[in-house]
Amino acid sequence: MNDTVQGAADERLKAEPLFAQLIKRPELGAVAGVILVVIFFSITADRSMFSLSGIINFMTPASQLGILAIGAALLMIGGEFDLSIGSMVAFSGLFFGVCAVTWHLPLVAAIPLTFIFAGAVGALSGNLVIRSGLPSFIVTLAFLFILRGLSLVGLKWATGGSTQLRGVREAVENDWLAPVFSGDAFPGLFAKLADMGLVATFNNGTPKVPGIPVEILWFVAIALIATYVLLRMPVGNWIFAAGGDRTAASNSGVPVNKVKVSLFMLTACCAALVAIITVMDAGSTDARRGFQKEFEAIIAAVVGGCLLTGGYGSAIGAFFGSIIFGMVVIGLTYTNFDQDWFQVFLGGMLLIAVMFNNAIRKRVTGER
């Protein structure tokens, strides 16, 4: 590299083409991926996949994963890793179920308690990582098993021997807070649109899509807030700095440990939110809830441009990464392919994304 010359603009710098500028954005890979997947399915899949009900169909699993993936992405940008996200979904699902069914708490108490509980567990694993100085990979791998095991034991304790806790739906059905965390939003609007003939209806006149599932709204809102925090708040700068180089960051006055522990708590709270939504949706909770979700969430974050080494990535990228995921997992049912290709696809996508990210990082840092 050369020093720029004092005074006039550097004559050795060529104007950067738009493509070269775009490729430096971390979320570019994920956006390109979405376009590729859409092209693939518009050729191979049944046309109904891209109807309104088809879109809602794949956005629902995408949202449930995406809420986790955005938490995981922020944590990865902050330079840490959480393998216990999936187990955390089961564990906070159990806690929420016990609050609602066993203790008969109203949602207005059960939901905040679940978040506090999840945050405390996140703070525990975060503090262990920070204080022990061990890689977060190992500490949270331990938590993956601990929390999954505790969920099983706890379920048996709460139900007297079963690994499924039923009766959540009955317990929360008439709670005023329930519509915020379950079911479909804007049913009135969709009924009206159906009357006007703007959305497809069944033969009896009810709309095929009764509303937007609440998880999609949560997903979009969380992606927007996370992006705002990362790019437009001092805390966002601290997250990038903590992940980029913790010594440099703390020498510059960034409270690195606080940032990291908060990110662990945030990830755990994202898991709790997914647990609350899915438990209320299913009406019950079981020990396999969230199984392997940690890997899927990390894949979505990596596809979204997060570097495994931290310090780089975006929440919008994780948003699109999750949509790719949802499109593929649901989209295959609209095609003639065997659904089990899904896993092959997931692994392949991860590999391509990691190689792509590595190349991008070299471009950004000017490494040769």
């Binding site: 020093d3 980029g244 960051a249 960034v254 780089y312």
Partner: protein, 273 residues
Amino acid sequence: MTQDTKFHHGDATQNDSPIVEMKNIEKHFGNIIALAGVSFDVRPGECHCLLGDNGAGKSTFIKTMSGVHRPTKGEILFEGKPLNFATPRDAMEAGIATVFQDLAMIPLMSVTRNFFMGREPTTGRGLMKRFDVAKANEVTIEAMRQMGINLRGPDQAVGTLSGGERQTVAIARAVYFGAKVLILDEPTSALGVRQTSNVLATIDRVRKQGIGVVFISHNVRHALAVGDRFTVLNRGKTLGTAKRGEITPEELQDLMAGGQEMAALEGSLDGTI
């Protein structure tokens, strides 16, 4: 080596009282005596060079000055008052900024984000309180321009800058945040010829703003190019301070090496070191 260089020297401010004055500083680590009575001071608008070979105690001394270590014995006066820094943060807030060799920069982040890391300007209130990116970009571009570097854009990653440019970002950042004393730890040691002269020019600019610069180096040429005063550290002791023009490069070199061996060596190398 000529004594006169293209740089202006801060002799006009020689009469000012020192910003930081360190008297007979001693620092022991267990049974190791790293500093055995070091006296050093820096005045506004001067560049005071601290020279010494590897292991002379330069790093320990800088760390004592910047609040990382507490001296075992001795006195530190800041603007005439005795002072004890508990943490580097205290020293920073008092106006002693240190640019270490590793620079505390993050290559993946943009120049602006590095510039304001940990001290982001905000706008708005309450929930709307946010990182004032527009202002931050503006300040960064302007601060870098004053140091003679035209950035491609404020979002340029620090990783794409050369070593000299990174050094300049670190210096510009310290100056912007109100440093009164700027400690530069071997700023030119890893740089090429052009980049070195750019950094030396930056030091000159900083000095003209009335900031006291402590320039640590083991390169006599670089020191003589910008220095107003020279202090040589050898085996944990200062061997006195010389003003510009009172000492030749050869004498400085000999002092750093502790005398004889170097003189003998230099003969065989024909004075090229």
